[in-house]
């Protein structure tokens, strides 16, 4: 479904992506691991159009989306959530979801491309509110929500139209440790996994182990390991360069 070929990106002297090659199919759940600055978020940002790569190409469902603006890519069914929740702060929870739905559902042509429509798998706002246990917050202004709830709403907004590819940037960061599985369960519950692929960036290896069937390990802008989660986690280079650091972090 998603083919990434020879993707490269540098910021000045820093190499954020070096010759990345990834193929992703439907019905897979993929974790991205790596220390801070290893290139995980840059990878997400390039797929979703926030950054355009220096070279290389990205195809989604055989359509070249390299360097296209986010709205174009979104319209192909690639939705994402953010590490720092990106909400409409002056609106209520319900309005946030309503407006997300109305944008996604409207048939505004993007750059004259009429084909680029979302194949809607309608979830109603109510359903989403219930599934994410947001109903009690539905009339609260987004800026007043607790951080964990903001995170949930952010993810819910990405999910409302039933994406074909869902990218989550640290879905459980800033969430209380006891809630993290709850959140992941909710997400998995909503996504129709048979037609959707999920990629998420995560530091928490328990989550990675529990929810992913494939993992990409990033180090210095390169993918140093790609495969079944178990294998990747036991890969020596991953142990040294990724897990070594993260385990140290968790000790601190």
């Amino acid at each position: 479904m998603l083919q990434v070929k020879k993707l490269c990106k540098t910021f000045g002297a820093v190499t954020a992506a070096e010759n990345l090659n990834v193929n992703i199919d439907v019905n897979s759940t993929i974790g991205l691991i790596g220390s801070n600055g290893a290139g995980k978020t840059t990878f997400l940002n390039m797929i979703t159009g926030y950054l355009s790569p220096d070279s290389g190409s990205i195809f989604f469902r055989d359509k070249n989306i390299t360097g296209k603006p986010p709205r174009y890519i979104t319209r192909q069914g690639v939705y994402r959530s953010f590490q720092i929740p990106q909400l409409f702060d002056s609106m209520t929870t319900e309005e946030n979801l309503e407006i997300s739905k109305s944008i996604a559902a409207s048939e505004i042509s993007i750059d004259g491309n009429q084909e680029a429509k979302v194949e809607s798998k309608n979830q109603s706002v109510k359903e989403i509110l219930e599934k994410f246990q947001l109903t009690e917050f539905q009339n609260q202004t987004a800026s007043n929500l607790p951080e964990g709830t903001r995170k949930l709403l952010d993810i819910a907004m990405a999910l409302i139209m039933g994406p074909n590819l869902l990218l989550l940037d640290e879905p459980t960061s800033g969430v209380a440790a006891e809630d993290k599985f709850k959140i992941m369960d909710m997400i998995m519950n909503v996504v129709e996994t048979e037609t959707t692929a999920i990629i998420f960036v995560e530091h928490d290896m328990e989550i990675i182990k529990k929810y992913t069937n494939r993992t990409l390990a990033f180090f210095n802008g390169k993918i140093i390991a790609d495969g079944a989660t178990k294998e990747v986690l036991s890969h020596p280079s991953v142990k040294a360069n990724v897990l070594g650091l993260t385990s140290q972090d968790s000790k601190l």
Binding site: T48, R71, T74, R75, F88, M91, I108, V118
Partner: protein
Amino acid sequence: MPDKTLTFTSIAALTLVISGGVLPQWAIFLVTVSLCYGTVVLGMILLARTGLVSFGHGLYYCLGAYSAGTSKLFWGISDLIFMLLTAIILTATISFALGFLLRKYRSIFFAMLSLAFSMILYGLLSKSSYLGSTDGFNVTTQTIFGYDFLDSGYARYIIFLITTFTAWLCCFLMHLYLKSNKGRLADAVKDNELRVEYLGASAAKIIHTNYVISAVLAGLGGALMAISIGHIDPEMSYWTTSGEFVFITIMAGTSSVLAPFFGSMLFTTVRSFAYEYSPDTWQLLLGTTMLIIIIFLPDGLWSLFTRKKKHRSV
């Protein structure tokens, strides 16, 4: 379910039309001028809801006024409706073109670039002796739908009616627009443009659309002003004129389509009286008012009317 704002708008417009028959002439004139300002500010509100403040909306205000004013000169027609139409067409065309550029800008840069454009127009008009340079020229509106109303003795009242009707219509349509899915995107863009993009909509396009709408409203306001004042000059494009619109926008608040009309009514009244009773210190008064409103009523005067509701809901 009838919409409260729409009902109220219509009642207010009707009351105005009826009271126009009894009000003294000077009050009618003051209200007409306020409604013209209000129409411009209505557009500014749409921009403000989109998160943008233009320090150069005088550009369209002035263009509207000049296209209405020159229709006699260029087309030989001095029909009120025709004048309004030319204003709409001209401002829509120019704002559509400039919009491609301005939609890339936000915040101060948007404010400054629009200021630059309005000052360029000011420069051009000041240079053109053909259009009276900085002195401008007088505008005569002879007919409406072909009916010669100028010498009927009701000229002022008819202009007042047309202005009220236009203001009401704009108010009505704007309210519906703001309620619609497309209109609500304005708030969304203001809140979080990035998210809007990641939901698949183009923030630039939304801004462009709203920019054109607000420009047309400014043009309409300018044309109506030209018709009711009877004189136009390049000062309408000077940055201080735009500053006044910004002032009213901030003073009135952006939460309701009625706020701009309320705001400009208050503004013209207070200015008129301040001018008279303290001609030496009216700027001091204006500045102080503005500061007080910004400090104590950040959402504008209109929030006085809506505050209660908010308390209830929280």
